[in-house]
Amino acid sequence: MRERLSIVLAAVAALLLANNLHAMFLSLPDEAMQGAIYRILFFHAPAAMVGMIGYFVALTLSIMYLSFGDFKYDSLAASVIEVSLAFSLVNIVTGSIWARIIWGIWWTWDYRLTSALVCVLIFSGYLMLRRAIDEPTQRARLSSALCIFGCVDVVIVWKSIEWFRNQHPGPVLDFRTGGGRMDPAMSHVFYMNFLALLLVATALVLIRTRQESTAREIDSLRRLAHAA
């Protein structure tokens, strides 16, 4: 059932992406100030949004694991964080390419870039911690605790770096500005691409959760064989 769902989600995401790419490169004109490079925004910002949503889904799943003790929440949390981390990296890399062309530099210590990097570091630590613990219950418990600390810290990091440094372009999306900063045709493609990336992320999470459950099953069989 889960496998079929992931195939359906991936197929819908592929169709949406194909349609969005067609709109981005063949329908939409170049942006007046930035030229063609602005199209990277259609991947850059949705990737950041998908990553952020993922971290807070993982926070919920970690709290659920600690409340109910069901390993499926732990597997899901680990999978969600892995996929979110991949999307955060897409966000950083695409942002860096955009910055090189528009600002002439690959990196600047602006608050959103720095916060995104801090998120990547915190949740890379989460994945490293999981690899360093062999015992499944201990791994699930400690990584859930780290996920909770990490997500709470991310909020403080985000606000504090915003107060500290701000060079990033201001918000352009309707739900942040109340409208008028982005052409409706562009914002339509933007939201459709966000949906496509969200579907890709969900399909990846489903596939990764299945791998995680299988790995846990193999691990418990190995333990059983050693105990016998």
Partner: protein, 226 residues
């Protein structure tokens, strides 16, 4: 109240051990001075710029030397199954964690004060112009480092790669605290007027401390009890 009393007992025990052996104090103090020495080769130690960025230099030194202290916080309980004995005792997990943070705090603070004196001498910086405010920043930021250090010291105590994992996890989490401490310390040592900007960062330090201490107390059982 009972939690605080128990936490005080744990901190007192750790401090007594530390005063007898002085292993973390000596190591962290020597390490802090070694970093201060190395930094003098990075830029001109008597330039005016040093005063403007002294907060950054000091808090990086404190954060790195603090790692030596909170690494020892829980690992010193491993021989002879002392950690299991502490967990089997009537102490609540929250008081054990807060007590450990208290022990780290009381050990780290003297290291910071000694480093501050040495920094003043090495770099010709007059750091005593706002002593009360500076003391407040030191207390708030050191408590933040101590509570995060205690939580993640406990979390990684039984790991094979403890020494490698601890800094990888801790430093990204400490970023908001370090920014706040650096910003306020920079202004205080450079003798800039204290504005709303400095108060904003002081509030960030306070919020960080309160949130992290509350989370540590709430998750103490999850982190400590196997």
């Amino acid at each position: 109240m009972k939690v605080l009393r128990q936490a005080f007992s744990v901190a007192h025990k750790d401090l007594s051990i530390e005063l007898r052996t002085k292993e973390s104090l000596n190591a962290a103090g020597a390490f802090a001075i070694a970093i201060l020495l190395l930094l003098s080769f990075v830029f001109d130690p008597f330039s005016d710029v040093v005063r403007e960025m002294s907060g950054g230099l000091l808090w990086l030194v404190f954060a790195f030397s603090g790692a030596l202290i909170f690494n020892r916080g829980f690992s010193r309980e491993l021989p002879n199954e002392c950690l299991d004995a502490l967990l089997a005792s009537p102490l609540s997990p929250a008081s054990l964690l807060i007590g450990k943070a208290g022990g780290i705090f009381v050990t780290l603070l003297p290291v910071e004060l000694v480093s501050l004196f040495v920094f003043g001498i090495f770099y010709n910086v007059r750091w005593w112009l706002h002593p009360t405010e500076l003391a407040g920043v030191f207390v708030l930021a050191t408590w933040g480092i101590s509570i995060v250090g205690a939580v993640f010291g406990a979390l990684t105590v039984n790991l094979r790669l403890r020494e490698l994992m601890l800094p990888v996890i801790i430093y990204p989490l400490l970023i908001p605290l370090l920014i706040g401490a650096i910003e306020v310390t920079n202004s205080l040592i450079a003798n800039h007027p204290i504005t709303d900007y400095e108060w904003l960062w002081a509030r960030v330090l306070l919020v960080f401390d309160v949130v992290m201490t509350a989370l540590a107390a709430a998750l103490a059982e999850t982190i400590l009890v196997n």
